[in-house]
């Protein structure tokens, strides 16, 4: 038991690496600050494509969404980062992360929005159009707000997943929280930094998870 505590819950190690991990946390928060908005907005665009009345827009979008929901995001990220130079595009790691996450999370968010749109009765659109609102105004003021409200817990759940998924950026050496923790682990020959990282993720995400549970209860 003593050895176990030394390996995983070593307070000395944790204290020593804490400032380093906080830098990683900042990097994680930076990633989230653009990956979440990108996902939320691109998901709406993907939903508009997959629910489009035009087959030529709808079918390619549905195929792409299915493909990228089944495709491992880690492979996607490495592919974007290491593959783009072959077509003459050297991009910074953060840009590669943004592109890979755009493709991945747009598909997931898109499907959630689509479920939300399906849950809005068609009479809502008809009422709006009958008062002269355009298709775009109907979407912005009537159907989309209701769709988002109906799937808010799912949108938040997916956002929690996305935050955890930012750890993937560590494989292309973006110094985010897990990357820092793993580095600290190899430097200290001790696993406590990983546990500290986990604790930080828990503190970050538990309130959100609790909020989701409450929202689901309310609905």
């Amino acid at each position: 038991m003593e050895q176990f505590t030394q390996e995983f819950f070593n307070l000395d190690v944790m204290t020593k690496v804490a400032p380093f991990l906080l830098q990683g946390l900042l990097q994680t928060l930076l990633l989230c600050s653009f990956l979440i908005p990108i996902g939320l907005v691109s998901g709406i665009l993907v939903m508009l494509l997959t629910t489009s009345p035009y087959r030529l827009l709808r079918w390619p979008a549905i195929v792409a969404v299915d493909f990228f929901r089944a495709f491992p995001p880690l492979v996607l990220l490495v592919f974007v980062y290491a593959g783009l130079p072959f077509i003459g595009l050297r991009v910074p790691a953060l840009v590669a992360v943004a592109v890979a996450f755009l493709i991945n999370s747009a598909s997931y968010y898109g499907e959630i929005y689509r479920a939300g749109m399906v849950s809005v009765p068609k009479g809502q659109r008809e009422a709006a159009r009958s008062t002269g609102l355009s298709a775009t105004q109907t979407l912005l003021y009537v159907t989309l707000p209701q769709a988002i409200r109906n799937v808010l817990p799912d949108l938040l759940s997916n956002t929690v997943e996305l935050v955890k998924l930012t750890t993937l950026a560590s494989v292309i050496s973006v110094p985010e929280l897990l990357h820092s923790a793993n580095l600290a682990r190899s430097l200290t020959y001790n696993s406590s930094p990983l546990i500290l990282a986990a604790i930080i993720y828990l503190l970050l995400l538990l309130p959100v998870v609790r909020l989701i549970a409450r929202l689901e209860h309310r609905l």
Partner: protein, 258 residues
């Protein structure tokens, strides 16, 4: 009405009809719901569409503001050809109010915002003007204190009166009502019909698809009986209810009296 029905399918710029639908056809898959229907509405009149369910009443109404695209025929609203590709349908719809069987109020918005949304976004009113207009409409439908309420906090009858206020706020030339009382508990029907009666007395043109025969008898200027996607018979309320000529009309009226 028979002379008008025989008129050629042209429209003079000075039509005496506010709504002039001729030969309207609509097919859903293999079912032909409207088989060439004429509907002529003079300004200021209250027209009742009656007929068994599936007779095409709702579809006809929905064609009149192009919530459904007719497959054929012509629909002229206030001398505007609604089916012309050059017609701005959003602008045209401002002139055509629609009231729905299931109210279709926006559940995420307050009563006030339900009424003012189109006023602000389509008619371009300021929020203050739109709110004033909403208050006026709420007073008119007898719900002056409900501006801040959400639709789910209201009874069905109240919701439908808000639905009427919402369409009326845009000051439309005509209001189409698709079974406005069918989803209501019997004791709430009267409050909605009272509002309809009030609008009629104010000279607002309305076309109502409804099963409220007693109300039709006392308030309608014109009754149109549809069956199987065709107009079987039409005339004054007295003509249709007291002296129906067609066998199908008589059978329908006999059925619903039970």
């Amino acid at each position: 009405m028979s002379s008008a029905a025989a008129a050629p399918e042209s429209f003079s710029p000075m039509s005496r009809y506010l709504l002039e639908a001729r030969g309207v056809r609509k097919r859903f898959g293999s079912t032909e719901v409207l088989k060439g229907v004429d509907l002529l509405v003079e300004p200021g009149k209250l027209v009742f569409l009656i007929g068994p369910s599936g007779s095409g009443k709702s579809t006809l109404l929905r064609c009149c503001n192009r919530l459904e695209e007719p497959d054929g025929g012509s629909i002229i609203m206030d001398n505007v050809d609604l089916l012309s590709p050059r017609t701005d349908i959003n602008a045209a719809r401002r002139q055509i109010g629609m009231v729905f069987q299931s109210f279709n109020l926006y559940p995420h918005l307050t009563v006030q915002k339900n009424i003012t949304l189109a006023l602000r976004k389509v008619a371009g009113m300021s929020t203050a003007d739109a709110n004033a207009r909403a208050a006026e409409m709420l007073a008119l439908v007898g719900l002056p204190d409900k501006a801040a309420a959400y639709p789910t906090q209201l009874s069905g009858g109240q919701q439908q009166r808000i639905g009427i206020a919402r369409s009326l706020a845009l000051n439309p030339k005509i209001i189409l009502m698709d079974e406005p009382t069918s989803a209501l508990d019997p004791e709430l029907v009267g409050s909605v019909l009272a509002v309809v009666k009030d609008l009629r007395d104010r000279g607002i043109t309305m076309v109502i698809a409804s099963h409220e025969m007693n109300f039709a008898r006392e308030a309608a200027d014109q009754v149109v009986f549809l069956d199987g996607g065709l107009v079987i018979e039409q005339g004054s309320a007295e003509d249709i209810f007291l002296r129906p000529q067609e066998e199908r009309t008589k059978r329908f009226l006999a059925q619903i009296r039970h």
